[in-house]
Symmetry: C2
Subunit: 673 residues, 2 copies
């Protein structure tokens, strides 16, 4: 690459981009860790994007109608941090750049949305950012349809690398975006032909432009170091009428001795090589120093959107008070006041009518009353709509010609669905939920972990939550999945036992601000356990006494979901045998653990023998409840499943694996000796 020629062709642009490159070099060198090459390769694209196209105001990082900029290749975090510092974001003083990757700094190794307002999403695990971007673009379409172009009308830009495009989730995202004709989504592919192991061709020879075209995208191929080509391509992309991919031929670590090598991907810290690179750039300032004229140019870029924003604020002010309030409420992620009222009414009605339904069906009943009062929900399923029961009558289908529709046919794309939901939740103004079989939590797992890490309240509607799904067999029967969800930090795993608990679970999920919720729901019908109406949300306590012992309390049965019915049946037998038995429903272990000691002691007193019942692995939190919480090793047992399931009708499976009232009774009697 002839650096001198690049400099000469666009000298001002060159120095602006060089500011990104040198900040990157300096920060990585100071940290002695990080990834230099990507920001150096994509500095030109980013500079042109920020200078000429991106709608933003550095003084208002949370402006609801800003264009979203997502760095899917999150290891190149110094690209984002440089841009934030240069354009003058208050959260990014130079000190932060100097503290790159240090304890307590906002400049984490990979961009983290919960540390910086201007970081739209947490990236690093490859393929996630581009898949989030699809969700951002969907959110924009939905909110534009709801609030009008005056309030919501922006683009979503994303930079993705070869790693992002090799990851499977990118396929799901790209196909979904193409299907949905998301015309305000623009992806730059950093086509530098380098991965960690070497040249891309070592592992991949995909014709990416053809691949994107096959998915229904508009595609351009440009020189990623030519600012005019970049500008023209972005303009064309904005008018393409479908999602647009701009393949940017770039040189990783441009101008550095490690340019175009896999070493250039990592931390470039050699002092002499850094010096040589800066010389080639024509950069004479000291480390971390940006010459005043260049900083001024960048700050002008940072305030370029100020007028746009003022005009937008004026348009917002023109709206009726009610509309302004609704807009604010929606973006704040606050549930409407009506929510608790409709939940309560449903609970009351259910307690009275006491239907026997599967909790997946209970969930649908809840959604039928919720969705009409929560216009910000966008629901969907990974091609299991009729099984997950996620579609309600009022929603309409989100589609290219019906952006007011609130139901998404995600296709067989659990991972892409979860990542898109993350994007929607991060965008603001949307409360997404989506369903699949609980077992296929596995497919969505990387994005589900990010929901938790990113502190966003996505709701996962996971049905067919045990061997109770029957004949489809062990590939479809979750065993360890409750354990997986419960072991994940900042995740609520709720397994309701009936419709009332399901309603309470949904209330928790929909009022959560910083925690995702996993609802584990049954395929099989369950009787209503909560026949006495209580206004209070009992699931919010995690566990509670569903039925206390008659007479002296000798046993406590703790159960979740479908196994509460079994525990209740066992209680009946035990009581008849004169063994006083309490049943504790434990729909959410995380919330139970948050209760104070006095409450936990009241629910789980020391003394009686304890038997846990759940059609899943004991590793799913049971040791703590049975051995801990004042339990004792000799006085506890677990009735569950520490192996894979089998293909057979449901009743035979429960029988085969001994998850029966009779076995629970036998365990209690054995423990009582």
């Amino acid at each position: 690459m002839d650096i001198a020629k690049l400099r000469a062709a666009h000298p001002d642009h060159w120095m602006r981009a060089a500011a990104i490159r040198t900040l990157t070099l300096d920060a990585v060198a100071a940290a002695n860790s990080g990834h230099s090459g990507m920001p150096m390769g994509m500095a030109d694209v980013a500079t042109v994007l920020f200078e000429k196209h991106l709608k933003f105001d550095a003084s208002a990082p949370l402006w609801e109608d800003r264009d979203r900029f997502i760095l899917s290749a999150g290891h190149g975090s110094m690209l984002v941090y440089s841009l934030l510092y240069l354009t003058g974001y208050a959260q990014m003083p130079l000190e932060e750049i100097k503290n790159f990757r240090q304890m307590g700094a906002k400049t984490a190794g990979h961009p983290e949305n919960f540390l910086l307002d201007a970081v739209e999403t947490t990236t690093g695990p490859l393929g996630q950012g581009i898949s989030n971007a699809v969700g951002f673009a969907m959110a924009e379409e939905s909110l534009r349809a709801r609030f009008g172009k005056k309030l919501q009308d922006h683009y979503t830009y994303c930079i993705a690398g070869d790693g992002c495009l090799m990851e499977g989730v990118s396929h799901e995202a790209i196909a979904l975006a193409g299907r949905q004709k998301l015309s305000k989504l623009i992806v730059f592919w950093d086509n530098n032909n380098i991965t960690i192991d070497g040249k891309v061709e070592l592992s991949d020879r995909t014709d990416q432009p053809m691949r994107f075209k096959a998915a229904g995208w508009h595609v351009q191929e440009i020189d990623g170091h030519d600012p005019e080509a970049i500008d023209a391509a972005i303009t064309a992309a904005k008018n393409a009428g479908k999602p647009s991919m701009i393949a940017c031929k770039t040189h990783i670590a441009l101008g550095h001795a490690q340019q175009d090598t896999s070493k250039g991907h990592g931390a470039l810290t050699d002092a002499d090589q850094m010096k040589a690179a800066k010389e080639a750039y024509g950069w004479t300032a000291a480390p971390f120093e940006i010459p005043a004229d260049i900083k001024a140019q960048w700050e002008a870029i940072g305030s370029r959107g100020r007028e746009d924003r003022a005009a937008w604020e004026a348009r917002l002010d023109e709206q009726s008070d009610r509309r302004q309030e609704e807009f604010a409420r929606t973006f704040a992620g606050e549930a409407p006041k009506k929510l608790s009222a409709v939940i309560r009414a449903l609970k009351k009605q259910i307690s009275e009518s006491a239907p026997k339904v599967a909790t997946r069906k209970s969930s649908e009943m809840v959604l039928e009353v919720i969705n009409p009062v929560l216009p910000e929900t966008i629901g969907g399923s990974a091609d299991l709509t009729g099984s997950n029961n996620t579609l309600t009558a009022d929603m309409g289908v989100f589609d290219e010609n019906n952006r007011k529709g609130r139901y998404v046919y995600y296709g067989i794309r659990e991972h892409g669905m979860a990542a898109a939901m993350n994007g929607m939740a991060l965008h603001g103004g949307i409360r997404p939920y989506g369903g699949t079989f609980f077992c296929f939590t596995d497919y969505a797992r990387p994005a589900m972990r990010l929901s938790a890490l990113m502190q966003i309240p996505v709701t996962y509607v996971m049905t067919h939550d045990s061997i109770g799904l029957g004949e489809d067999g062990p590939t479809h029967q979750p065993v360890e999945h409750l354990a997986i969800c419960r072991a994940t930090p900042n995740t609520l795993t709720i397994r309701p036992c009936d419709t009332v608990e399901t309603a309470e679970a949904w209330e928790i999920a929909l009022t959560s601000q910083k925690t995702p919720t996993v609802l584990a729901l049954t395929r099989q019908g369950l009787p209503t356990q909560r026949k006495e109406h209580k206004v209070k949300n009992l699931v919010a306590q995690g566990g509670y006494v569903l039925a206390d012992s008659d007479g002296k309390r000798q046993a406590i049965l703790i159960a979740t979901g479908s196994e509460v019915e079994i525990a209740m049946a066992a209680r009946e037998i035990l009581q008849e045998a004169g063994i006083g038995t309490r049943v504790v429903s434990m729909p959410c272990m995380e919330l139970f653990a948050e209760q104070d000691l006095a409450y936990r002691r009241k629910v789980l007193p020391a003394g009686p023998v304890r038997v846990g019942v759940e059609a899943g692995a004991r590793a799913g939190g049971w040791d703590k409840l049975l051995l801990g919480e004042r339990g004792r090793e000799q006085k506890q047992a677990f009735v569950g499943l520490d192996r894979f399931g089998a293909s057979a009708p449901i009743d035979e499976l429960y029988e085969k694996f001994g998850i029966t009232a009779e076995n629970v009774v036998a365990q209690v009697k054995a423990l009582l000796g």
Copy 2:
């Protein structure tokens, strides 16, 4: 679809295919559950494939050189079961067909490799079969290079549906196959335009032929009900010189009232509609009855390969005894005798030299001695070769022009890698291992679960196994991942503390026959703990006393991996303070749980206080070891991490989260009161 015309055009073929269709209808109706439409749609393709192309012998389902046939759209299991019954496999009497989806039947809801020899892989979770198929084809290439065309020279055929092609993992698999020019891999796409939610276009408009071409595949598009077109396409695919995709335009539930509908995907049980469909087929036999002439035709197909196999047996007999033995050993998955000798020698040398190295480096040291004596290993990494340390000097790179190479550059495809490894292990003759960061276990999770369910000894080399990876931050720092692996049935999770334990862990992984192994390895250097050479494999006991107390035993510290060093440092401080302290190294909780009570009691006696130390979530099996196993709630504590990590240098992270010897000491002292 004009059934009459199809019947008339190829009457014999028609009736053979109709046998599949009617068996499917009958079995699903009897089970009152299952998926009728897919086998009915693809019966013509399967019939032509089995009749004219597939190299197999129904009397020898395990023949090492058979063509492999994989039903990626596993819900269509009745297609496979019908074919096995019709062609005369001994394991598939008519009784099994009649017991479809019933308890104890081999005809599980989805095909399960561990129930039927002729089922090459367990499918159902979509996208897995086609991704396994890539591994099968790689295994064939590798074994052909090793043993010669005389012994190994077969095709891998796969039927994939829209669901398989929507799943992200299919992208990884297709791109890998294209990159590797796997010319003996042939995929039929069941292009029926139906998913569970409705028409495919509800969620997808991908141009699949263009997509496959972009990935380097040979592509044909045919009428999937025209036997001549099917035959010609397979012939062309075999000679394509690259992986081949045949897009078969089909009608789901062909000839049934539910043809071309999403209802046709599921269980078609309406008696009148079944009757009408059979009439349309010209089928007059009773349910489950196959007219003798048709059965005879199918059985002739089933024995078509008998001569081929006899010729192959003759060729095998011509080989030297040593070569025959090696071929048999390799396919039996038995480790060579030399393995334990080289492991022992390395252990001895390490105990003496006591290096301080990261266990990912230890793993490389082990592989350097193992790979030369285990020619069946195929290693690789998802683009982290230099970080996972999975490549050894002797391996060579597996590539289109070097099929003897044993190292695979999988690219940024953790899921595709895991699924391909499953395929290789299932094929036989290969012992695959592959690496990525432990945190990205998440990406590979669906395939890792299948390794366990399918009972195949794949080895996952998961490095950077804690916050110890440092600055890359929480997106890259595993917390709940040990819990995930430990909660999964039939999975060995081993976290060694030094090079000796790493060598023992590899010995366990490489001699396992039916259980996959996850090795959790550090980025950071660790001292050698096992300085006294022992021939015995101590990791095989799961946990053992690494250092006993001096004086009265008051405390037991239980630790794994990198935290053993911390426990040992804590022990030193405690001993100096006069508190007798035992350190138990617990590299594998699953193996410890398998030890008899006497041994477990010896290692973890009641009495002393216990502190667990692991830089991960307590949910990862610790409650059982601390509260159970004769532990007591008031006498135990855990030093670990029940939240996400952070981006900072390693030492500061351990300090911040209190995973230090000082904190362990403080916990012990607090417990002793």
